[in-house]
């Protein structure tokens, strides 16, 4: 047994409202730069849909992840080491910029500089690659909320597996959102594809990172990752990826996507696993067995032998303790409601998902029946094969049994808790029907529905009391400062309110007066006037 620890995430898809706040905050923090326009460490896909980049799940086309050889060993689907090196001059499975989208901006300048004319001047879209007029035909969320689904959605690779049973007629449509980040896999094919060895998995927390000083831009990892979460920065010539916000995680703060998640649907915690068993689990012959195989790689953090081995492996006691309190462990191995995304890629992903019950609840609700009644929900789960097969195509390599089981549990929780919330006697038979006790259901409800901050994020690095304060910033009204309007009146704010945002407020030290620096427009070269205190501002500021 070789115990290793892994930071992992679970997302509760029922709570995702598709607001893209995670994507936006992630982009603001990490990829708000030239060359990284198409880089979305976090993106939210409407499913059914093609995903981002388009049809990335079609591994016959993109050749990502691992595949089994005839002798039952795994090898990179794109080919072995020699082939990897021989194809280095023209990476064979690299998505082009058009598979993402051509980044663009608008000719805003024209709005203010156009001469007087009969018609309103317009800001035309300009390609950020060529600087010329462009036509916007695709982007990271072009098919949001099934937009254009009659034209696009039939290209969804998972939908093709399910067959052409789904008609895109309004009344028969189901839809949910799938937020995606890097999976920080236990058996990462990007790491294995990198010729240089610049991509590595951190021993301490399993976060997969790209050493920007060692990456040489050979691009093989982009094709190697089946989730297409390796992004080639076309300006730096290097690959970038989701960092699991490691600087935040290291000080016990949740990732920025989790922190800002409006639905509070993300869970973060440690998982202990046996590194010696990973390869064997990834080589499981039956694709349907991969979900169970991966669960068996995880180690019970309460098992005394595991605790002893963890100590021997140099894992600190507070980390083991955090692993015991980990919501990820609870959701994956106790309640067994979380499932991996595409286990059939054999990368052993570590961002798992609780599949959405909402398509089922919606379907029952539309019939006019009670969508909180166990029998109605169970019957609907049994009947709604298409959404369930679709979910199975995402989370269990097509095996509907685990998906059924999870949805039954979620439905049972819904019915059971409805009785309690209505002040009725809870019906223990509901809990029993899914093999749980009433107390377990209540515990699961607390974790999934109440979802307290301290229970969602168990990040072993101390200081999460600070993180809680940070959430207060996000959830509290920003005007509720001492003497602010939220506290009765405009006291203290009338000077700066509505004035130039770059202007010197009472609390902004050192910024030259009336200099406004828009870092969004800064190309990263040179030093804009007034960026640092002390430089005399030139008239007109930057750019």
């Amino acid at each position: 047994m070789r115990v290793m620890s892994q930071m992992a995430m679970v997302m509760n898809l029922d709570k995702c409202i598709g607001c893209h706040t995670c994507s936006v905050t992630c982009k603001q923090v990490w990829t708000n730069r030239s060359g990284a326009e198409h880089v979305w460490f976090n993106n939210v896909e409407t499913r059914p849909g093609q995903g981002y980049p388009r049809t990335y799940e079609d591994q016959d086309k993109w050749k990502g992840g691992w595949t089994l050889t005839k002798r039952g060993r795994i090898k990179l689907k794109a080919g072995g080491r020699l082939k990897n090196l021989m194809t280095i001059f023209a990476a064979p499975n690299l998505p082009g910029i058009k598979d993402y989208y051509e980044p663009w901006t608008y000719d805003y300048d024209n709005l203010t500089t156009a001469p007087a004319q009969k018609h309103m001047p317009v800001a035309r879209p300009k390609s950020l690659l060529t600087g010329q007029d462009t036509k916007i035909t695709w982007s990271s969320n072009w098919d949001d909320d099934l937009a254009g689904s009659t034209q696009n959605t039939h290209n969804d690779p998972i939908l093709k597996q399910v067959g052409d049973k789904i008609k895109f007629e309004y009344e028969q449509t189901f839809m949910f959102y799938l937020p995606r980040i890097c999976e920080h896999c236990l058996n990462p094919s990007c790491v294995a594809s990198c010729p240089t060895g610049a991509i590595y998995k951190r021993e301490e927390d399993g976060i997969v990172l790209v050493d920007q000083d060692r990456c040489r831009g050979w691009r093989q990892c982009v094709g190697g990752c089946p989730y297409k979460k390796m992004y080639f920065n076309h300006k730096t010539g290097k690959v970038e990826k989701c960092t699991f916000c490691y600087p935040r995680i290291e000080i016990g703060q949740p990732t920025i996507c989790s922190e800002t998640c409006v639905g509070r649907l993300r869970y973060l915690g440690l998982m202990l696993y046996d590194a010696d068993k990973v390869l064997e689990a990834a080589s499981t012959t039956d694709e349907h067995g991969l979900y169970e195989a991966q669960r068996n790689v995880f180690l019970d953090p309460r098992d005394p032998e595991v605790i002893r081995e963890a100590r021997l492996a140099g894992i600190p006691d507070d980390w083991v303790e955090a692993a015991q309190r980990s919501p990820i462990w609870a959701l994956i191995n106790e309640y067994k409601v979380a499932l991996p995304l595409h286990p059939e890629y054999r990368t052993m992903p570590m961002v798992w998902y609780i599949p959405p019950l909402s398509p089922v609840v919606d379907a029952v609700g539309e019939t006019g029946e009670d969508p909180e009644r166990k029998d109605n929900l169970f019957a609907a789960i049994d009947k709604l094969r298409i959404p369930i097969e679709y979910l199975a195509g995402l989370f269990t390599a097509g095996d509907t049994v685990p998906v059924d089981r999870v949805l039954h549990k979620l439905a049972a929780m819904r019915s059971y808790m409805r009785d309690i919330n209505m002040g009725w006697e809870p019906d223990e038979s509901i809990a029993e029907s899914v093999g749980m006790t009433g107390q377990q259901i209540r515990d699961m409800y607390r974790l999934l529905a109440i979802a307290k901050y301290e229970e969602r994020y168990v990040i072993p690095a101390a200081h999460y009391e600070d993180a809680h304060k940070l959430e207060n910033i996000a959830t509290d009204c920003s005007l509720n400062v001492e003497g602010g309007p939220g506290m009765g009146g405009m006291g203290g704010m009338d000077d700066s309110f509505g004035s130039d945002p770059g202007g010197q407020g009472p609390d902004v030290p050192g910024r030259p007066e009336r200099v406004r620096i828009n870092l969004l427009n800064w190309n990263g070269q040179g030093t804009p006037t007034g960026l640092f205190p002390g430089t005399p501002p030139a008239p007109g500021g930057t750019s």
Binding site: L129, C194, T196, E204, R216
Partner: protein, 248 residues
Amino acid sequence: MGNGWAVFLWLIFPYICLTVFVLGHIWRYRYDKFGWTSRSSQMYESSILRWANPMFHFGILAVFLGHVMGLGIPKSWTDALGISDGVYHFMAISVGAIAGVFTIVGFVGLLYRRRFTKAVMGATTVMDKIMYLMLGIVILGGLVNTASGVAGEYNYREGVSIWFRSIFYFNPQPELMVGAPLSFQFHAIAAIALFALWPFTRLVHVFTAPVGYIFRPYIVYRSRDAHEGSRAHRRGWDKVDTIPRRPK
């Protein structure tokens, strides 16, 4: 050509350029690891690159091996192996011509896409343009020499090659180049200039060719402690110590 010129061109200039080559790479590796990349533009344009780039690279690799043979291995060695001049030259010229044609066709393809794909052109730096120009001159010069080898008036293994090796023995013999045909002189000077340019262009990626991939385990693990950026720790800059580091 006066003697002073000969000494400058075939002695001083090569040593200057080689010094720039070596020190330049050390400097670049120490201070610009982040910029050390092939700067691929495949994302912008793939259909020409798909054939042109492997053609160019495999061609130039073969050309490189040919130069190792021709410049690096003394004639006496191949004579000792019983390879006659005629056989040697036939091999060198035929293989060299094939490799050269591959290289130049691939090069023209790459040049075409760089010039006429707007996104690729937009991502081209001044240094890239200078590099392309020099590389083109060197390759063309090499092809001319290979072609002139068919006529077979000049045996470079008795002139250019010995001069080339003499530089590395630190016993330079510039007079050997004075007698070489103009096209050989031109090719050599252009190549030497290209070497001086090398560390400051994207050509540096050659020296990080990932041959180690064949031998390493697939999954790379690394501890937080192992690497913390490329720069050495400096006085006055405290590390951001977040969580206590684990004793090893």
